[in-house]
């Protein structure tokens, strides 16, 4: 009798015990699942990041990469970079490039998402076409624009002439006055689809009842936008602006393939400055010093934006 009830309890208890045990036993599994990613991150991200930091404090030039770690320790690279006019010009170029690209992309993203949200006929096809540029590799985007905006045979100049422009052929990517504005075109082309998509998702999550109630109260469409739509998309908008800004700040593909920083550094962003210092002049010290500052800037910018996004939720 005793025995039977005991075995009955055990029969019932064992699955319950295993569920309760779930958490403890699962921790071993949770670590095991994490292991490949942890190894990847340690070997390919954390250790390289430590090396970047280390090299940025190593003074003197060394062509032997294996020996960079044996150079004397000091702030020489930072001193050199901070007194280099090219660095400050690149900082300015980066600010204009990121600010301009993200600002225009955001306006385009906002306009297209509002239009796509209105369920016009053919929205499905239009949405695909609007988002399409996202799938095209940056280098190919760059080459496409290089050709359209070409000084001698570019179709853009030809269209300008058709519209009665007689200012002569502008070599958009080569002219010092137009180069920075022109490299933003392919960057905007590649950046706005993600903004459209994010804002569209945010718009679709705003309850329709809010608009109906506002309509009953006699709100104008401008009022509806500022009191319902804008608060509803503000959080995702800040996030996607942050992501786009980070992406543009880090990207080198488009500028490398169009102007490679020229003419005379007019389009050399910080990311490209890092690349050229390292792989054109082999000055790994100054390159990593600039890079370290870039990561710091990106971190600060992200933290500020994340703070703003966090606040906007309440």
């Amino acid at each position: 009798m005793m025995n039977r009830s005991l075995s009955a309890t055990r029969f019932i208890a064992s699955p319950i015990a295993s569920v309760l045990d779930f958490h403890r036993r699962k921790t071993a599994l949770s670590y095991a699942l994490l292991l490949p990613a942890a190894l990847t991150v340690l070997l390919l991200i954390v250790y390289p990041l430590y090396q970047i930091f280390d090299i940025s404090f190593r003074e003197g030039k060394s062509m032997n990469f294996a020996r960079i770690g044996q150079q004397p320790f000091g702030l020489d690279n930072y001193r050199r970079v901070l007194t280099d006019p090219a660095f400050w010009r690149s900082t300015w170029v980066s600010a204009v490039y990121v600010g301009g690209t993200v600002f225009v992309s955001f306006l385009i993203g906002l306009a297209t998402s509002l239009l796509l949200n209105r369920d016009l006929p053919g929205t499905r096809l239009l949405r695909t076409l609007v988002l399409l540029p996202w799938a095209v590799p940056g280098v190919i985007v760059a080459i496409m624009f290089l050709w359209v905006m070409d000084g001698s045979y570019g179709v853009f100049n030809s269209i300008l002439r058709d519209f009665g422009w007689h200012g002569g052929d502008i070599n958009w990517f080569v002219d010092r006055r137009t180069a920075l504005g022109t490299v933003m075109l392919p960057a905007i082309w590649k950046t706005y689809p993600l903004i459209t998509l994010t804002l569209l998702a945010a718009l679709q999550s705003i309850p329709k009842e809010l608009y109906e109630a506002a309509e009953i109260d006699g709100a104008t469409s401008v009022q509806k936008f500022f009191f319902i739509t804008w608060p509803g998309i503000m959080g995702p908008a800040l996030l996607v602006v942050m992501i786009s800004a980070l992406g543009t700040f880090r990207d080198v593909d488009i500028i490398f393939a169009t102007t490679n920083g020229g003419p005379a550094g007019a389009t050399q962003t910080l990311a490209l400055y890092v690349y050229n210092e390292a792989f054109q002049y082999f000055r790994m010290g100054t390159a990593t010093a600039v890079g370290t500052m870039m990561v710091a800037i990106a971190f600060l910018g992200t933290a500020i934006m994340a703070g703003m996004a966090g606040k906007s939720k309440f």
């Binding site: 699942l33 970047i52 590799p137 280098v139 190919i140 179709v155 030809s158 490398f256 792989f279 971190f299």
Partner: protein, 279 residues
């Protein structure tokens, strides 16, 4: 009612005008590839195609006059391998991040976020130094590993988002029925995140296919280069053969566009989720 209809019509027209303008560079690329050079390299090229003069010879020349095929092959090898590796690593890690939140998970999550702050041109410096000493320059393996520095953070957050939507009770129920935890993951959870796996795969492939600066720096041998690097090398030449370049550009975009058009609905949920969750 008619006012609303008019507004919709106006909206539609604006939208169509926008699409025509934004997709024009793409249209012009195809035009340059299929029209005779004399019609395109002119002071006033016709914007509409002359149907009687369309020719596809440039598409053939791409393969005969340049190492295009081997570039494409390189891109496929590197893209395939880095996608599979990143997907396996990220699916496991994404599951762990979704279900547990102790110290190791938090540390990995933080490291994955920080990786999004590092410019490719910067992480390239230590990778280049390590590869130089390890003999990984010019090897596909080296480039695959480099692509994983982008792919793993991206796909881990994406997969975590998809796992988050699967209720934990499913695995608990499966273990009550006698399944081991690994069986529960393999037989119960994974089949439910198939859309997530599909979105991640496409995402990883497109990212690898588009990647340029790693490929350009870590592979120096001309015939082993990836497609984007090969394409860019055309531009550096003294006399750019625009027709050839545009034909090559068209071919290299086609796979990405086909994938995009067919999987767009999949990507739409994944793109916002992955991008937003990732920061």
């Amino acid at each position: 009612m008619t006012k609303a209809k008019l507004a919709n019509l106006a909206g539609l027209l604006v939208m169509i005008a926008f699409v025509v303008i934004t997709l024009f560079p793409f249209y012009w690329m195809v035009m340059t590839a299929i029209m005779p050079t004399s019609a395109i390299l002119s002071r006033a090229p016709s914007l509409l195609p002359d149907l009687s003069r369309i020719s596809f010879t440039a598409f053939v020349s791409v393969f005969t006059k340049s190492p295009f095929l081997s570039w494409m092959l390189s891109s496929l090898i590197v893209g395939g391998a880095s996608t599979i590796l990143s997907l396996v690593v990220s699916t496991l890690a994404g599951y762990s991040l979704s279900r547990w939140n102790s110290k190791p998970q938090q540390a990995l999550g933080a490291a994955l976020l920080i990786s999004k702050l590092i410019p490719s041109s910067l992480i390239l410096i230590p990778l280049f130094i390590i590869y130089s000493t390890a003999g990984l320059i010019d090897s596909y393996l080296g480039l695959v590993l480099a692509h994983m520095t982008i792919g793993v953070p991206l796909a881990t957050w994406l997969m975590k988002g998809f796992f988050d939507r699967i209720p934990r009770e499913l695995e608990q129920a499966a273990t009550i029925d006698g399944a081991s935890q690994i069986q529960a993951l393999w037989l119960v959870v994974l089949p439910l995140v198939k859309p997530g796996l599909a979105a991640s795969t496409v995402y990883l492939m497109l990212t690898s296919w588009s990647e340029f600066i790693f490929g350009r720096t870590l592979i120096t041998e001309p015939t082993r280069q990836v497609l984007t690097v090969g394409m860019q090398s055309f531009v550096g030449e003294q006399m750019v053969d625009w027709q050839l370049l545009m034909a090559a550009g068209t071919i290299s975009i086609v796979p990405a566009i086909i994938v995009f058009v067919f999987l767009e609905p999949f990507l739409v949920s994944g793109m916002t989720k992955g991008a937003l969750a990732g920061t």
